[in-house]
């Protein structure tokens, strides 16, 4: 009953011209009942300040705001919510950690909490409670959520999937019913697509999302990796060179211009029909539906990345964790809020509002209808269980973050794909660049 009311509310809220969202009476009632039983009782007069990244879709933002509103009405905790672009948010998160002041919770990206773990509030009790209640966390969520001492230092609320987007008709014309599940056939597909005049392509520019996602997949799919389990830099390896040899052949079949592509270029090229296969979140499909581009929306679909010689999925998807700061004056209010946001009613609405952009990190939400009501979203359901972290196979921290941000893997792959360097030279150069940050 409550679920139905909640969804109705979210749908209704989507049409609000100003984008403001307020909790329905049913949701407020549920929040009050939840607060009465919650083990985390907010401090008297608690006020929280939260900073988050700018929403992808209006419906997600509204669902989130409604959850905050219900929490405020049920507990009396006022919440000020601000939003920033990713790149403006990261320095602010760091400054807050550095000076011990600022927002109580920051909803960030990647693994920034691991750069300043001592500034984070220990939320092990909240995460253990949620894990126990909702079927457990996926391993990638635990990897991002826990600090080196095993305590939870941030809440891995969601993972954003980045998968293969393809035009069905063009792939079929190239001799495949769907995206092949192995890299050898994937190369054949790209060769055929090029022959047919409908090439595919991946971003080779300094694209922090799409560029990093597909280049890490290709590196890992052939057994290459930047570091081993002990954070020794091992990127200059025969496996990496094998992956880069593959890139060389694959890159010869790319659509023109991929060397300059940033995160938005492939969306545009795909929607215009200039690119048949690329990697992206669900945003291309969402844009096609939103803009009424029926021909594209009906003809496109999503698929997992093909599995390489290593024989297992080697995907990289982007984590968006919530970072609770130790400097908060109201730790119980923070814990109560984080727990509330992950409870079924709120999280259901959050997933529904996200329409596939954001995926769950707790196993119980595997059956959420958002993943099956439109079959083209279904593959995004599984991204948390298929994702590795960018620090694979080492530890999250400064070295991994800097190597990632400096596009070491993206540049290595781009150098080979564009013919600027041989696979061997590109791997050697990446080794040298990565060693700098891992302080060899």
């Amino acid at each position: 009953m409550l679920k139905s009311t909640r969804r109705d509310f979210v749908k209704g809220a989507s049409s609000l011209a100003l984008g403001a969202a307020f909790a329905s009476p049913a949701l407020i009632e549920a929040a009050r009942a939840w607060a009465a039983e919650s083990p985390w009782k907010p401090e008297d007069g608690a006020k929280l300040r939260m900073l988050r990244w700018k929403r992808f879709v209006q419906s997600e933002g509204e669902a989130f705001q409604a959850s905050l509103d219900a929490f405020t009405k049920a507990t009396g905790v006022e919440i000020r919510l601000d939003s920033e672009g990713f790149e403006d948010l990261r320095p602010k998160a760091a400054v807050a950690a550095n000076i011990g002041s600022g927002p109580d919770v920051i909803w960030g990206i990647h693994a920034d909490a691991h750069l300043y773990p001592d500034a984070m509030l220990d939320i092990t009790d909240v995460c253990d409670h949620l894990g126990g209640k909702y079927g457990g966390w996926y391993p990638i969520a635990e990897h991002y959520g826990k600090g080196r001492d095993g305590k939870w230092i941030n809440l891995p609320i969601t993972i954003s999937g980045n998968l293969i987007n393809y035009r069905k008709s063009m792939v079929q014309k190239a001799g495949f019913d769907k995206i092949p599940d192995n890299t050898a056939d994937f190369l054949k597909l790209f060769q055929n697509l090029k022959k047919n005049g409908s090439p595919g392509g991946f971003a080779l520019g300094n694209a922090s999302g799409d560029g990093n996602c597909w280049t890490h997949w290709i590196l890992w799919s052939h057994g290459g990796r930047v570091v081993d389990e002990n954070d020794n830099v091992v990127v200059n390896s025969p496996e990496t060179v094998a992956g880069l040899e593959y890139v060389k052949e694959l890159g010869e079949n790319f659509v023109q211009g991929t060397a300059s592509w940033l995160d938005g270029h492939n969306n545009k090229a795909f929607l215009q029909g200039a690119c048949s296969v690329t990697n992206n979140g669900i945003s291309i499909y969402a844009a096609a539906v939103r803009e009424g581009m029926k021909d594209v929306a009906e003809d496109m679909d999503h698929a997992f990345y093909p599995v390489g010689p290593v024989g297992e999925p080697t995907e990289f998807h982007v984590a968006f964790p919530m970072m609770p700061y130790k400097h908060t004056k109201y730790p119980n209010a923070v814990k109560a809020l984080l727990a509330w946001l992950m409870e079924k009613e709120q999280y259901d609405a959050f997933l529904q509002g996200s329409v596939g952009y954001l995926s769950h990190s707790l196993k119980a939400f595997q059956e959420h209808p958002v993943w099956t009501e439109d079959p083209k979203r279904t593959v995004f359901r599984d991204v948390a269980q298929r994702s590795r972290s960018f620090a694979h196979a080492g530890t999250l921290g400064y070295a991994a973050s800097t190597v990632f941000a400096d596009f070491v893997v993206v540049n290595m792959v781009a150098e080979v794909a564009t013919g600027a360097r041989s696979p061997q030279d590109a791997a050697k150069r990446a080794q040298k660049r990565a060693e700098r940050y891992y302080k060899v």
Binding site: N98, S260, H265, T402, T418
Partner: protein, 318 residues
Amino acid sequence: MATTTEAEQVTPVGEDSSWYERLKHNRNWLGFLFMVPAAAILLVFLAYPLGLGVWLGFTDVKVGRPGQFVGFDNYAWLLEDDVFWLSVFNTFLYTVVASIFKFAIGLWLAVLLNRHMPFKSFLRAIVLLPFIVPTVLSALAFWWIYDSQDSVISWTLIEMGLIERPIDFLGDPNNARASVIVANIWRGIPFVAITLLAGLQTISPSLYEAATIDGANEWQRFWRITLPLLTPIIAVVMTFSVLFTFTDFQLIWVMTRGGPINATHLMATLSYQRAIIGGSLGEGAAIATAMIPFLLAAILFSYFGLQRRKWQQGGVDD
């Protein structure tokens, strides 16, 4: 008697007056006092951040974590870092080529706009447009103009039958460098043109009349009157233009993010990428600090070179 009274009314500032009284009437001290607010602003908002930036370059400070003094470690690494050297090369190429074109086209436009012509004010306003448009907006416009599939330039050339496939403006390293330089030139010309136009309007028409009576042709008038009298303004304008170009960030960041394969990374963009996104504040600060000697050289060149007054007046400097 009256004189005596007035003299008595003046507060005595003699040997027996208090130090405060003496200080209050000391012109040097008052001058210093009036300068203090300006000096404090300069120190707090300019000197301190600059000093802090230079200091950070000698540390391994990370975003969110205090670091340690590491001496020249960051610079030693940068000396071996080919991405850094590529950014230095790109920055110089970008600055030199763009500045030369901005000066040449800007001066040409200024001379044209200084003539009497219909719609003079309107045309002058039009010339300012690229400067008025926010940099990010113009960068986005160029992002579309240089699109690998839908470039309006490529489309026009294909329609005219001059090329068969779109030009890869931002995908090829050299094309990308040329493309971002063109965007910077487009954006920088109005500043040079309008400022030089202001300079041209300060030159007395009687000088041109006298030169014309003496039989000077147009080229001689430009070379002997316009250019020497415009030199002080050229010095200032080009110093600023070089500084703006050398430290450019937005155009590159929006259009290429330093790609493809770092072919358009400038020192400013690389510094931001390493310091803020990568979290290595120390290394990013070292890259930014490495820009200072070049910027100082540009200022000193302008100060000691272009502002020599005798040379401007056709003489020879000592």
